[in-house]
Structure formats: C-alpha cells, structure tokens
C-alpha cells in the first residue's frame, strides 16, 4: 500500500515537469500526432500528402529554431484554423468538448447511485418469499410417494 502511494506521489510530482519539458522542447513525433492534416482527415504522422509534407517541414524548422509547442501550434492555427488541432483547445466554445463528459459524469454518478440505493432497499423490504413455490397438496403427495418408494 505504501509503495503504491509512493509511486502515485512521484508520478504526480513528475507529471508537471514532463509537461513543461514537452512544452519547451517538443518533439517532431509528438507534434505530428497532435496536428491534423487539413486535407486528409488524419493526423500528420499518418499522412504523406503534399500539404502534410509541407507542415512536417514547417514543424521541423520551428523546432530547430527553438520554438515552443504552443508557438508552433499557434502558428499552424493561424494558417489553417483551429481544425488543425487533433484535440480541441481548452478555451472558448471548445471548452464544452472537455467539460461536457465531466459534467455528464458528475450528473450521472449521483443518479446511478441513488437508483442503486433505491433498488437495494426495495429488495430488502420486499414481501417474504415462501420457502417453496409448490402447492402444499402436491408437496404432501410427493412425500407420500417418496416414502412408499423407500419402503418398497
């Protein structure tokens, strides 16, 4: 348990540092997987179209010039529009795409919990179930028949 906690704490401490490193020194592969080719509907790393080649070259030149990830992304958005980003930006109208699943989860979790609680309560307080579903007459006949079988 302690080991798991330690791993979680270390991961939490390292995550912002990794994000900062990626922001300051982005890699070609990373950006190619996060930028869309505007004419093929796939990310750059999956496209060999002419415009994708141009964009890959632009990214390579920008990385070589020391541009940060957001500078490169902003430059591409300025040229091709926001649709060039594989994930919607976390501001303005596009924020809905990030918030809606979270809101859905927050709304749905109490509803599901409440429904489960009601269902389990209904089961606890339900009418007592008879030990056997058989008619008492039939049960008596079965007992008689069994007794006769055992004695014979």
């Amino acid at each position: 348990m302690r080991a798991v906690l330690l791993v979680a704490v270390v991961a939490a401490l390292l995550a912002p540092a990794a994000a900062l490193a990626s922001q300051q020194h982005p890699t070609q592969n990373e950006l190619e997987s996060e930028i869309m080719c505007p004419v093929c509907g796939t990310t750059l790393d999956q496209s060999d179209s002419a415009v994708a080649q141009d964009m890959k070259m632009f990214i390579a030149h920008s990385i070589a010039a020391g541009d940060t990830k957001s500078q490169i992304e902003d430059a591409l958005v300025a040229q091709f529009g926001e649709a060039v980003l594989a994930a919607p930006p976390k501001h303005g109208f596009n924020l809905i795409a990030w918030l809606l699943p979270l809101i859905g989860l927050l709304v749905a979790a109490p509803i599901v919990g409440w429904a489960a609680w009601r269902w389990s309560r209904a089961r606890d307080t339900g009418p007592p179930v008879p030990p056997s579903g058989l008619d008492p007459d039939i049960e008596r006949r079965i007992d008689r028949e069994l007794a006769r079988y055992e004695t014979s």
Partner: protein
C-alpha cells in the same frame, strides 16, 4: 419527492438532447451547404454565389466578392501544394490578360495552405489578378470543399453560372468565361 426528481431528470435529458440537436443544426447551416451549391450549379439552376470577404495575399487589405457585382468573376480555388493548380496558373494569367478589359475579373483563392508558400508561387508565376487567402478553408467549404483545383464562374448578377473541378486547359477557361459573357 421521487416523482419530482424523476421529472427534473427527464426535463434535463430532453433539454440536453434538444441542445445537441441545436448545435448540429447550427453546424449544418453555418458550415455546410457547399455540396448543395455545387449540385444546384451543375443542374443549371444558377444559385446565388455565397459572398465572402478575405484578406489579400499581397497584404493590400481585404477583398469582398460583392465589390465585383456587374462584372463576370472567375473564382479559382487553389493551393501551393496542389500540382494541377500550379500548372493551370500560367494559363489563368494568360487568359486574364486577354479578358480583363472586357469586364471580367479573375480571383484566386488560396485555400488550406501556408500563405508564405502561396506568395512564393504567385511571385513565380507573376500573377496579376488578385489572390486572397482562405487558410482555414471556410470559404472553400461553402463552395464545396476539396479537392482542388475548382473554378467557378459568376455572372454580372452574382449567380453561379458554371464551374469546373480539376485542372483547366486554355480551352476550358475560354468556354467558362465566354459562356458567362454571352447575353442571357
């Protein structure tokens, strides 16, 4: 209490679905329609050409399509990464020089492209007709989207009278423009 909660949840769910339908409707009416326009033009229905205002590639301000009313306008969508587009550009330039004194305007729309690459191409060809920049391809989308090149001809009343998808030969340009110049 239980019934009220259930009703509130139902109202919320219906409102959510209605909201999503609203968003879908907005997207269809604001970003779509290009395919419909091309279909109407190909059926000879002469739909009104969607208006647009874009920045000039040479940095000389903006250009409005409606400022060319009472002229025949040839709108050529292109990009520097598109080889057929680059092949047809000198032909367009040659044709423009022949037609420009006859009330005809050629307008290049560089779409989904780096403006720097487009500027290089324009300089290389020596294009003298105006070229505007539609980097995000929004105007291109209203005119049917990809592939490129695609060329539309708009008559003096602002209606789409002809179009061609794919590379233009000199004879194609003549056919498109002469058709629009002919009195209706």
């Amino acid at each position: 209490m239980g019934r009220r909660l259930k009703l509130a949840a139902q109202v919320l769910a219906v409102a959510l679905v209605a909201g999503l339908f609203g968003l879908l409707g907005w997207k269809v009416t604001h970003q779509g329609g290009g395919a419909e326009l091309v279909k109407k033009a190909s059926e000879g229905k002469k739909p009104v050409a969607p208006d647009f205002r874009l920045a000039r590639l040479d940095g000389g301000g903006h250009l409005d399509l409606k400022s060319f009313r009472n002229k025949v306008v040839l709108v050529n969508f292109w990009a520097s990464w598109c080889d057929p587009c680059k092949r047809e550009m000198p032909r367009l330039e040659q044709a423009y020089r022949r037609y420009r004194d006859r009330g005809v305007v050629f307008l290049g729309v560089d779409a989904q492209d780096f403006d720097s690459s487009a500027k290089r191409e324009v300089l290389k060809v020596g294009t003298s007709y105006p070229v505007v920049y539609d980097g995000a391809g929004k105007v291109l989308g209203r005119y049917g989207g990809l592939p490129l090149p695609r060329t539309f001809v708009i008559d003096r009343r602002g209606r789409l009278v002809d179009f061609q998808l794919g590379e233009l030969e000199q004879a194609d340009i003549n056919r498109l423009v002469d058709g629009a110049l002919r009195p209706a």
